[in-house]
């Protein structure tokens, strides 16, 4: 192998390494970002759950519902980049039509939850909370619980 060919080989290898590192860094950002949104949903749902079980007063119930509805709206876009990792199973992207439909439905349901809470009171919305927050049905299919 001539020195020039060897140099081209080294340059190609270094370029490939740099490129793969850059992609890995971007991928981590995408995973982190969608996890921020999902953790917001988790924390706010847990706060609402504490109110449902009467562990804490429900003064902030509507605020928690609003935060959930806003986060739910952002979630589908955060999963659009096909970047596997975190707790997402590969099925998120292989079954994208189903997953994105579930996410869209979730956003609509949480919007409805806020509308009901504001028009008929937080207690009425809380009465249908399982219908508005079907988190588990999606997690059972698309979330890898072993990667916490």
């Amino acid at each position: 192998m001539s020195p020039v060919t060897r140099m081209y080989g080294v340059v190609a290898m270094v370029t490939a390494l740099i490129a793969s590192n850059a992609i890995a860094a971007d991928d981590k950002e995408i995973i982190d970002y969608r996890e921020h949104i999902m953790k917001t949903l988790n924390e706010q749902s847990a706060a609402l759950g504490m109110m449902l079980s009467m562990a804490v007063p429900d003064d902030n119930a509507i605020a928690h519902m609003e935060a959930i509805a806003l986060a739910a709206k952002m979630a589908p876009k955060a999963f659009e980049p096909k970047v596997q990792g975190g707790q997402s199973k590969p099925e998120v992207w292989t079954n994208w039509d189903d997953f994105s439909k579930r996410m869209d439905d979730f956003a609509k349901k949480t919007d409805e939850m806020v509308r009901v809470a504001k028009t008929k009171g937080a207690a009425t919305a809380m009465g249908n909370i399982i219908e508005y927050l079907p988190c588990k049905s999606c997690h059972d299919v698309y979330r890898d619980e072993s990667k916490k």
Binding site: Y33, K39, T40, A55, V56, N60, A67, M74
Partner: protein, 147 residues
């Protein structure tokens, strides 16, 4: 004739034994609840930071700011019960006037940030992020970091 007394003592003993347990459970709920709020703020602030560093598209900047504002407004009530624990230092309740004023300021500043972001997008709101999210100045005094 002395029989009822032991029974009464048993009842009193049972109540004494039960009450600390139920009070501990209540305290843990209070701590858990405020931690849900603070963790939400942490997640949303981190998402905003990623957007500001241009690691993530800015499309949802205003929505993150809105969640931050909504959540900040719930924090004060969550800290009202004087229950030390979690990462909250006891000085938080000893200096309640200062702490609650800081939370009021945070609520006002994040509401302003959210309004600016909604009206003018990230370009209009970004210069206000640093002054709105003064998390460290409060954490330095009132938070005991437990990793």
């Amino acid at each position: 004739m002395t029989r009822p007394r032991p029974r009464l003592s048993g009842l009193v003993l049972a109540l004494v034994l039960m009450s600390p347990v139920s009070s501990r459970a209540d305290d843990q709920d209070v701590i858990d609840y405020r931690q849900h709020i603070m963790k939400t703020m942490n997640e949303e602030a981190a998402a905003i930071a990623q957007i500001l560093q241009q690691k993530i598209p800015a499309a949802d900047f205003a929505t993150h700011a809105e969640i931050l504002a909504i959540t900040a407004a719930t924090a004060k009530k969550a800290f009202e019960p004087k229950v030390p624990g979690g990462e909250a230092k006891p000085v938080l309740w000893a200096n309640w006037k200062d702490f609650s004023k800081r939370l009021d300021d945070l609520t006002a500043a994040t509401a302003d940030l959210a309004r600016k972001a909604k009206e003018g997008g990230m370009a209009a709101a970004a210069p206000r992020v640093q002054s709105a999210l003064t998390c460290d100045s409060c954490h330095d005094i009132y938070r005991e970091k437990k990793d």
